[in-house]
């Protein structure tokens, strides 16, 4: 057998108007963990979709050899039969079904067409135990955290005895702890002889587990090298095609007095009554300050800020003071009136209206300002001026303001959401995971923008699960653990370890 389990030669794939892949070649050795890196839109996902049969044979040009044989796939099913399994960025589990049913979806153990649920339970248990996962196979998937769901997805792939496992951004929604578990599982899989293609923006993870790294950019292979010969900085420069002198463009800005205060916030679960997700959290915010909120997923950070913003669907209690006066925010519309804007965590689900244009998305929360008469006619000329202004100001790359926002890359979509919130001229901007799933170049621009906003006197509350980002951007950091505020740090000589310690439950302070 050849040394390579997978060889892809001169793959070219075109979409109307765009060459997504241009003569890409990609080879993976048997039993290795091979990281595939590149900015969003570089063509990673397209390449993997070809490999997993989403784009069937004949819709692309080039050749693929799998185990030395020519690979011709007509469907995802074909790929699975050959032992190629893909785990997507977006989870593909059925939330209303149990873990065991999800794992064996499509190949249920059965007798004469009748599902053998007992057998299914036993098999599922076995697979889960194999990776020390303490999940009851009868649990409904919707009751699991995102991290556990991701692990179930991997279990599902393994139940199909995959020999080539493709993971597309598997950790983008995981906490540090879950990431650890996942990486451990991947190492174990490697020992069992499973080959892994690992797509990730998180270069720390890549450096930790990958044997080989391939970088693609603008649909072309930039290079493949053993991970030993590479550094994070090298990979980044290959990805973006330029040296990034600094990942976090820290800029000095003036920080004023406290002008916003949250007191004794309690947020209750939407389903289980009396279960508190956020417990007695209070914090202050100064003018022009960037406040980072760190913590693991499930710590209650999103629930806290969405309650402040008035968009949390469940019950909450607590007081909010703006410039010394108590304010009551019942819904997002109230919040916007007081000058509080929020960029939500899930861009696609909560931030964008994908069918609408860049222009319409940018002004949707601010239409009142463009009314020109009593029946509410929109002054489209004024609207357009503002839109063009912001497209230029924050460098949104779009062919036209009337382009549908779904056709933009992740980073540019995020900028549209940012522009939408900036158009409402906020005093306080809440950013929930502002750089999730966007490429290094766009991240850098968003950081730049955050600092220039802080300079203008806008206060920013940023939730982030990436510790380097928290440390690189924030002026002050609060850390949450299981709904409680566990620590507060002025960002001087703080280390990732200190914050992590706090996020997993140990209390500490540096002031």
């Amino acid at each position: 057998m050849s040394e390579y389990i997978l060889e892809m030669y001169n793959i070219t794939k075109e979409f109307p108007g765009i060459k997504a892949l241009d003569n890409v070649s990609f080879k993976v050795k048997r039993g290795e963990i091979h990281a595939l890196c590149g900015e969003n839109g570089a063509g990673k996902s397209t390449l993997m979709k070809i490999l997993s049969g989403v784009y069937p044979y004949g819709t692309y040009s080039g050749e693929i050899f799998y185990n030395g044989e020519k690979l011709i796939l007509h469907s995802i099913r074909d790929a699975e039969r050959k032992g190629i399994a893909i785990i997507y960025q977006e989870l593909a589990l059925i939330k209303e079904l149990s873990v065991k049913e999800n794992i064996f979806m499509g190949n249920e153990p059965n007798k004469n067409g009748i599902v053998d649920f007992d057998q299914m339970y036993i098999n599922a248990k076995k697979i889960l135990q194999q990776f020390n996962l303490d999940i009851d196979p009868n649990t409904l998937v919707k009751n699991l955290g995102v991290g556990q769901q991701q692990l179930v997805e991997i279990a599902k792939a393994l139940s199909k005895s995959a020999s080539l496992l493709i993971l597309d951004e598997p950790t983008s929604s995981l906490t540090e702890a879950d990431v650890e578990i996942l990486l451990k599982i991947l190492k174990k899989l490697k020992e069992n002889g499973v080959t892994c293609i690992y797509i990730s923006h998180k270069l720390d993870e890549v450096m930790e587990i990958a044997d080989t790294v391939t970088v693609i950019r603008d649909g072309k292979t930039i290079g493949t090298d053993s991970a030993k010969n590479l550094t994070k900085e090298k990979i980044i420069s290959m990805m973006v095609g330029r040296e990034l002198s600094q990942l976090y463009p820290r800029e000095k800005h003036f920080i004023g007095e406290v002008f916003f205060e949250v007191k004794d916030f309690n947020v209750y679960d939407t389903k289980i009554q009396n279960r508190r997700i956020v417990k007695n959290v209070s914090f202050k915010l100064r003018k022009g300050e960037i406040l980072g909120i760190a913590g693991l997923i499930g710590a209650g950070r999103t629930e806290l800020v969405s309650s402040i913003f008035g968009s949390y669907p469940g019950k909450w209690t607590g007081d909010v003071y703006l410039e010394g006066k108590k304010i009551i925010i019942r819904n997002p519309s109230d919040a916007l009136k007081y000058g509080i804007a929020m960029v939500p965590e899930d861009r696609k689900k909560e931030g964008l209206i994908s069918l609408m244009s860049v222009k319409e998305n940018m002004t949707i929360s601010n239409l009142e300002n463009y009314k020109k008469n009593l029946i509410g006619t929109i002054n489209e000329n004024r609207e357009l001026l503002d839109v063009k202004d912001y497209i230029k100001k924050i460098n949104i790359k779009t062919s036209h303001f009337s382009t549908q926002v779904k056709n933009l890359s992740g980073g540019n979509q995020q900028k549209v959401v940012l522009a939408k919130n900036l158009l409402s001229k906020p005093k306080i901007l809440i950013l929930d995971e502002p750089t999730r799933g966007i490429d290094v170049g766009a991240k850098y621009e968003i950081y730049k923008l955050m600092f220039s906003l802080a300079k203008e006197g806008i206060s920013i509350i940023m939730i982030s699960s990436e510790l380097p980002e928290i440390l690189g951007i924030s002026d002050r950091i609060i850390v949450m653990h299981e709904g409680e505020k566990k620590g507060e740090f002025e960002n001087k000589n703080v280390t990732q370890e200190m914050i992590m310690q706090c996020a997993i439950g140990g209390r500490s302070n540096n002031d």
Binding site: P332, S333, A335, I353, M356, E360, I364, E380, H400, S402
Partner: protein, 387 residues
Amino acid sequence: MIKSDKTEKDIIKRFSGLNLNIKLYTMVLALVAIWIIFSVATDGNFITPRNISNLLRQTTVTGILAIGMVFVIIAGQIDLSVGSLLGLTGGIAAILNVWYNLNGLVSIFVALIIGILLGLWNGWWVAYRNVPAFIVTLAGLLVFRGILIGISKGYTIAPLSTDFQFIGQAYLTPSSGYILGVVAVFLVIYLVLNSRKTKAKYNLELPPLWIDMLKIAILIFFIGLFIFILNLYIGVPLSVLILLILMLVFSYISSKTVFGRRVYAIGGNVEAAKLSGIDVKKITLILFALNGLLAAFAGVLLTSTLNAASVSAGQNAELDAIAASVIGGASLSGGVGTVFGAVIGALVMASIDNGMSMLNSPPFWQFVVKGMILLIAVWVDVISKNK
């Protein structure tokens, strides 16, 4: 050289809106094709001024219902009750007019108010009680029809007073038709020029003058043709004029106002709309109320045209309205659709009814053909999206 060609194309595309409405243009083409087929099959009888006038009058009820329905569909909802609502409001107007000798206009006014109230009823359950629109309006379909049967005691209510008959049966005189046409032409010219002026004031990119001129010329041609043909018969039917006015008003609301923009936003992504500070519940309530109002309009018009109200009036009309909206480009998953498209859809449906009865084909074929057209319209849309 090649490059400048391309940019010119881009300009034309961008400013004419050609690239946006491919769906709608295919629909208009399909309509023209249907008309040609019927014209040939009926030896030209289909496109006589008399039949065109009839065809347009047949379009009014479904057309008005479709205007309201497309709004509801754009917002990602559905309203199955409009057929019954049409029947009930038409029935109430007739009862007031015939049994209680109430003035025609007052009867109509009361019916319209009741249409709004019943729409608010639907909307309140959907928006503030979180019952799915399908269920709320299915209940409405049964309840409103039941009330109609109850209050009319199963009788057909006729004949109406002359002032009531007027709105469904009257025609503009040829000369007033032309006057109206001239006013419309001046309005079009004023609007286009005014838009150029304000755009220039804001220093925004202007479309080339010839494109605007071409637009004006095309519009003048169609306004002239429309009035000319209808004047060859009796004149512009008042009911058709009402449909056109409603179409223009609601087109304007959907594309030019804050309210319209928000409706599209809610249908496109309700979560994002909420987080953008939009009061989704209030807008949903208003939408159903508007739909109730339009259904009442249609009810009054139908009653007036038939000079009678019956318990079966408007049965299945909600399905015609939904089909018309979808044929005209609306998507049941929300966020997509146009008022103009919905009216074109209604015209397609009416053309099939009208043409096939001229051909003396058995009525069952009309159902089969309309059903197939709906299916194919959506299928064409699906494959064009997958490309």
